[in-house]
Symmetry: C2
Subunit: 343 residues, 2 copies
DNA sequence: CAAATTTCTTTACGCGCGTAAATTTCTGTC
DNA sequence: GACAGAAATTTACGCGCGTAAAGAAATTTG
C-alpha cells in the first residue's frame, strides 16, 4: 500500500501499464487475461490499493453480483444462523450477500423486497413470513427476480422451495415418544404465523392415527413472534383450565417449548425422562438455545447445512440457466432426532 | 400503477410533464420544489411506479445516504435486537441502513469495514469485536468514514463512543446481592472477547472492597463466542474442582449465566431466592432469553433505547457538522436492575 | 401593475465503468 | 521464420443521474 491516490480505473490502468478495458476484463474475471498481465495487475493492485467503484460497475451490468437473503426475523437465532450459512455460501460463489430481516412485519417484508429490486440482484433467497406475507407482492417480486424460497413455502410462488420435511420431524418425535412412554399431546399456537406449524399439526394427527392413539391438540392463543412468552402464558392457562393433563407433550417448535419449560418450572413441575418426572417434553427445530434449557430439550433438528447448500445451489442453477425452471422444484430434507433430557 | 414502462428519469420527467433536473431536485428533497410541481410529480409517481436507479444516484453523490451498522455477532439476539433498533432510527432519519455481522471473526470484521468503504457510507455505527478487533484496521477506517462506536469501546478510535456504564451495572447487582444475602462471587471468562467484561470484573472488585467484603473471582476457560457452553462447562469444572462454593454468584453476562443455570440444573441444584434454594445467581445484560431461563434471571438491563438513540443522534450531528468532533465524546448509560427469580 | 424574487426549463458536461469493433501485438506451432 | 490464433490496445459510445449556468416563466412584493 503506497504510491499516490488512484481515483479511477483509468488511473489505475495507467499506473499498472495496462489498458483500461483489459483491467476491466480482469476485474470481471481474473482468469480471462493472460497470466503475465494478471501478475502485473496484481502487483499494481497491492501497490496502490484500488478497487472499482461498485456503483459505476453495477450501473452498467444488467444483473449485479448481489444476492438478496431475506428472513422473517433476524433476532431469532434460528434465522440468524441460517442466514449466516447462506451468506457464507454466497460469498464463496463470488457474489455479494445482502441480508435483510423483516422483523415479523408484512410492511417490512414488502419494503425489503422493494429495496432488493432497486439493488437489481442476480437472485434472492427468501424465507417469507408465511401467513403474514403479502402474497401478491411476493408473487410480483418473484416474476421479476429469480427467487428461491426456503424454510416456509408459499404455493406456486418462486422458482423453487427448499425446506425441511415437517412430516419427517413429527413422525420421528411422535414415534419416539410413543415407543418410550405415553403418546404425546400436541402443543401449538392456534393461529401460527408460519405455515410449517399447520403441516406439523396435520402430521401429528396422521401419526397418532396410524399408531392407533387418540390425538390431543392444545392450541394456545397469542399473536406475533414472541413465541416463548406465548408458550409460557399458554401453558399456565392450559394448566389452569385443566386442559393440559397429558404427561407427554410435543411442542410445535422449540421456542414455544422454551416457554412451556419455563412455565413448568414456575409451577414446580419436573420435566424429563428420568424417574420421578411429572412430564416429558419434546419439540422441533433444534433451536440454538435448546441445549441450554432446563432440562435440555429433546427435539428434531433441521438439516441446516443441506437446506442452505441446496437453496444456494438451486438459485445459481437458476441464474446460470438464465430462464425460469420449467417446473417448480420442491425439495424437503428430513429431520434428525436429537435426544436430550426433556423426553 | 399503470401506463408503460419507465426506463429512466428522462422518461419519467417527460411523462409527468416536468423537466428532468427538477425531478432530480424533487428526489433529493421533495420540499425543494414548488407545491404544485410536487403534486404533479407525485401523481405521476403512483401512475408509473418509477424510482431512481440507486447506482447512478450514488455514483454522482460524494457521500451516499447509506449508514453502516456493524455488530460482532448477529446470531446473538442481544446484538440482533440493538441492530434492529438502530436500523429503525436510521430509516426514520431518511437514510438506508446496511447491517453487517462479523460472526465473531477479525477477518470478517475487516471485510465488513472494507465492504462499507466501497459503499461510501455517510457514516457508520460500529460495535467492534473488542479484543479480537484489528485495531489499526479499525482506526484507518475511522479516519476515512465518520464512525460512532457503541457497545464496546476502543480507546481513542472513532468520533464517539456510546455505551453502557458497566460500573453502574455491577454496582447495582452487587449492592442488591449483598443487601439481600451472602456477598457474591464473580463468574467470568478468563479471556473475554469483549472489553466490557474486564470493566465488570474491576467494578466487582471495587464494589466488594467498598462494601468491606472479600472478593472471589471464578474465571473459566474457553475461547470464542459460545458463551452458554463455556459457562456450562466451566460451572461443572468449577464445582468438580471445588472452587465454586459460594451460595451467591454474579455472572459477567447473561449468556454465561444461561450456561451456569443449565449446569446447576444438571447437577440438581436449586437456584433462586426462595427458601430452600442452594444458590442465587444474578447477571448483566438482560438478554432477550433471560426471562425464560429456569429460574428466570435477575439481571441488569441495558438502556437499549437510549444507547441506540444517542448513537444515531451523535452520528447525524457528526455528518451534518461535516467535520470531526473536536474532542471524542464518551457517553455511558446506567443499568436498570431487573429482579426475577434467580436471585 | 411593474419590479423583484423564486422556480422551472434548457442545455450541457461529467461521474466511473461496461463493452463493442477494429487494430495491433503477442503467443505457440510447424 | 512465417503464420494462425489468442490476447491486448485503441477508440468510442452509452448507462442514469447530479449539477452547473443561463434564460424563461411563474410567483410574490410593494
Amino acid at each position: 500500500m503506497s504510491g499516490q491516490k488512484i481515483r479511477n480505473m483509468e488511473e489505475f490502468a495507467a499506473a499498472s501499464g495496462i489498458s483500461r478495458p483489459t483491467v476491466s476484463k480482469y476485474f470481471n474475471d481474473p482468469d480471462s487475461v493472460r497470466d503475465s498481465t494478471r501478475v502485473r495487475i496484481e502487483a499494481a493492485l497491492d501497490q496502490y490499493d484500488y478497487r472499482p467503484n461498485i456503483y459505476a460497475v453495477n450501473q452498467n451490468r444488467r444483473l449485479t453480483k448481489n444476492i438478496g437473503i431475506v428472513v422473517p426475523f433476524l433476532s431469532d437465532p434460528f434465522f440468524a444462523e441460517i442466514a449466516r450459512k447462506l451468506e457464507t455460501l454466497v460469498i464463496e460463489a463470488g457474489f455479494r450477500p445482502v441480508v435483510l430481516g423483516s422483523h415479523g412485519g408484512t410492511e417490512q417484508e414488502n419494503d425489503n423486497l422493494e429495496t432488493l429490486r432497486s439493488l437489481k440482484p442476480a437472485g434472492v433467497l427468501l424465507a417469507p413470513l408465511g401467513r403474514a406475507s403479502d402474497k401478491s407482492a411476493v408473487e410480483t417480486f418473484c416474476r421479476h427476480v429469480p427467487t428461491v424460497l426456503f424454510d416456509s413455502n408459499i404455493e406456486d410462488i418462486g422458482e423453487a422451495f427448499i425446506g425441511s420435511d415437517n412430516i419427517s420431524f413429527v413422525d420421528q418425535t411422535v414415534e419416539y415418544l410413543c415407543r418410550t412412554g405415553e403418546p404425546p399431546s400436541f402443543f401449538e399456537m392456534r393461529t401460527p404465523a408460519n405455515p410449517n406449524a399447520n403441516k406439523r399439526r396435520l402430521a401429528y394427527l396422521a401419526a397418532m392415527e396410524r399408531a392407533g392413539h387418540a390425538p390431543d391438540v392444545i392450541s394456545v392463543e397469542g399473536e406475533g413472534w414472541g413465541f416463548e412468552e406465548i408458550g409460557r402464558r399458554g401453558t399456565h392457562d392450559a394448566f389452569d383450565a385443566g386442559s393440559l393433563t397429558s404427561r407427554s407433550i410435543l411442542c410445535s417448535n422449540d421456542r414455544l417449548a422454551i416457554g412451556l419449560l419455563a412455565a413448568c418450572y414456575e409451577r414446580g413441575l419436573k420435566v424429563g425422562r428420568a424417574e420421578g418426572s411429572d412430564l416429558r417434553v419434546a419439540s422441533h427445530d433444534d433451536h440454538p438455545f435448546s441445549r441450554f434449557t432446563c432440562p435440555s430439550l429433546t427435539t428434531a433438528a433441521h438439516d441446516y447445512d443441506a437446506v442452505a447448500e441446496q437453496a444456494v445451489k438451486t438459485l445459481f442453477e437458476l441464474i446460470e440457466g438464465g430462464r425460469p425452471l420449467n417446473d417448480r422444484k420442491e425439495l424437503l430434507y428430513p429431520a434428525r432426532l436429537v435426544l436430550r433430557d426433556s423426553a
